[in-house]
């Protein structure tokens, strides 16, 4: 989360567009920015899991057996003008890449609204979600700062024992054997290429700059590891 915010700052202050793929060392719950962090909202099964608050909105994500991405776009890119269109622009190429692997996902197409939104993002329904046979396998959320946007999302690949009611894409497709480092790396690379093409920017592989690492380190220490941040919405 700290690195994602650091990349958002680079987008806002230096007009840098970035795409990052990552996984989590331990199963972790990331809360939507405005979500309450109250024990009664959480399942007992999750009580020992780490929790971190995101900058972006939406519901909580259980990061386990999934692939997370974060994408930043500066204010001077036309795509930064439409929040809904940005979801579609990033999700569409993922449909194409997954289809090439015989994983036929599609947009949900309709939004589902509830008086009380479920705690987990995967229990909520937005028309721009990606679904496989009706089950949500990818959802994204955004944060806009000084016109720049960070959008991050989670591709649910395997069913998590912490949320067995949300089937993973590879479980549904009976392709669980694909959940290997090599396949995940290939998927990230292919998705990066088609997303770069979709936003009409050249793709260049690069490590974080010293400045981005330093800012991320400060954010990790002073914000994302602090109870004051993670429990602040009550």
């Amino acid at each position: 989360m700290a690195i994602d915010e650091s990349l958002l700052e680079s987008a806002a202050s230096q007009n840098i567009c970035s795409l990052r793929w990552y996984r989590w060392k331990h199963p972790t719950i990331s809360l939507g920015y405005f979500q309450k962090n109250e024990t009664e909202q959480k399942n007992d099964v999750w009580k020992d899991l780490s929790t971190v608050r995101r900058l972006s909105g939406g519901g909580a994500i259980l990061h386990h057996h999934e692939l997370t991405y974060s994408f930043t776009i500066p204010a001077n890119h036309p795509l930064s003008k439409s929040l809904p269109d940005l979801y579609i622009t990033i999700h569409k190429p993922l449909i194409d890449v997954l289809s090439a692997h015989h994983l036929k996902v599609e947009f949900r197409g309709v939004s589902i609204t509830a008086e009380t939104e479920p705690f987990l993002c995967f229990g909520r329904g937005d028309e721009r979600d990606l679904v496989y046979h009706g089950h949500k396998i990818l959802g994204s959320a955004q944060r806009r700062r000084r016109g720049a946007i960070v959008q991050h999302g989670s591709l649910l690949l395997l069913t998590s024992e912490y949320a067995p009611h949300f089937p993973g894409l590879l479980n549904q497709a009976e392709q669980t054997g694909l959940y290997q480092e090599e396949f995940l790396t290939q998927l990230a690379e292919e998705c990066s290429q088609v997303i770069a093409k979709a936003i009409n920017l050249p793709l260049k592989s690069q490590n974080l700059t010293d400045e981005e690492l330093l800012l991320a380190s400060h954010l990790e220490k002073d914000k994302y590891s602090q109870a004051a941040w993670n429990s602040r919405k009550k």
Binding site: Y33, K81, L83, P84, G147
Partner: protein, 128 residues
Amino acid sequence: MDQGNLKFTKTHEWVGVEGEIATMGITDFAVNQLTDLVYIELPEVGSNCEAGKVFGEVESVKAVSDLYSPVSGEITEANTALVDDQSPLSDDPFGTGWITKVKMSNPAELDLFMNADDYRKFCESEAH
């Protein structure tokens, strides 16, 4: 409020002035960009805001956006009705959708903003 009497920023906030009090909100253009609003966080009455700095946050379509204060000063009122019902922001952004009132510390900041005609032209250029 009559839009002809308002001032507008490039970040799509509006300001209406009565004496030393500025009423602030976000424009219809901003609301249309944000689409369906579901949360708003307002500044506390008595706190200070600074021109160009964040004074609140809104969430729409799973997107959280910062709100930037057009002027500096002390927050004297916040439209707390918006916390439970954000619809005035889209239904009546220049009226009941006002967000805060501020006792200005530097009214000269208003000179930097656009009038309604210039703002409309600015929005047209943003949309293309």
